[in-house]
Symmetry: C2
Subunit: 230 residues, 2 copies
Amino acid sequence: MSPTAELAAELETVTSGPDATPLIERLQWRYAAKKMDPARAVPAEKVERILEAARLAPTSSGLQPFQIIVVTNTEVRQRIQAIAWNQAQITDGSHLLVFAAWDDYTPERINAMFDYTNAVRGFKNEGWENYRNMLLNTYPQRGAEVNFQHAARQAYIALSAALMAAAYEAVDSTPMEGFDPEALDGILDLRARGLRSVAILPLGYRQAEQDWLAPLAKVRRPREQFVTEV
Amino acid sequence: MSPTAELAAELETVTSGPDATPLIERLQWRYAAKKMDPARAVPAEKVERILEAARLAPTSSGLQPFQIIVVTNTEVRQRIQAIAWNQAQITDGSHLLVFAAWDDYTPERINAMFDYTNAVRGFKNEGWENYRNMLLNTYPQRGAEVNFQHAARQAYIALSAALMAAAYEAVDSTPMEGFDPEALDGILDLRARGLRSVAILPLGYRQAEQDWLAPLAKVRRPREQFVTEV
């Protein structure tokens, strides 16, 4: 066997091993569907659980520095499709999730989350207040671009939570960066809300027999090229 | 029914409960544990499934532009702890996952992943080759910093996959950005491998009675402040 064939064979073994759990099985089942069935809508309760997984995802200092816009309006999705390489899933899926990160960490935004935390917990904690002040004394001063990049990474944690939850729900989703962020910000009027789009995620159901990608093997680097142990 | 349709139908049944699913329940159970039990180690098979979830996570163009370093060596973890605000979980947990993103997208790295994909699939596809060339003609020219930031976001997708899989396995994990990335790169000699550390994730088991955070309410923005519908 050639080294590459050997790797391919190992990949095969790894993905059909005895240790699979339902979650791992569903991650093996998921793929970035290219053709979704326009006749099938994702049920509302599944969409809610996918959003809930994103809402529960952890973020740096608990700030949750992003929003999710759920677009079902067909006309709006057509406009988005036009600035996203005409990718068919945007209108063939039933829901389009737009992940939009804060354009900056402002004192108002930081304070709002710390105040809300105190309200939920019903008390003030000195350590937590010191931590609030540390953030207030550092984050706003770093500049909007650094802060946006940081917020975007947090949004990606939630993007991943949503797509994993979708797989768990047997719902197809296709994470996409291939769109014009400024145009999308314009269509959804995000800048006025202090937001910038970073990723989109159509939800729907694969139409496997019409999807060129569906019959192809899932490709991931083998574990030994991906993980190092120290 | 095709095997895929069969699996989809089965998943449909398993996950169509009225509200909570095991996955959502476990995401509610998870929190960023501050005190882990140094006497309890995460079993190897659970660590492997957590790594497998990260390996199966989708990434932009399938490039998987990052590595995971699994640190169990106590002395190395002590050195990492010293450059990470002395956070106790780094040594109280049993495994420390370090997510390290590519410092750049080079033609070699792009070609290696496309060649590997062709090897696994056993054929060349013209569309895929055109896509390879499009990446080769754009990514390397964008500059290392832009590319590193893009790769870091992909690493965050895998970070999220790992922490969700840990929760699903009833394993505690604490995602951390609070460390000196350059110092960590030095300790693990990452720069020589073309890598830069972006996040770390200790794995272990909570010692709730000694954790100030454990009894406090989980705080997340309410759905209506987090989600907008269009």
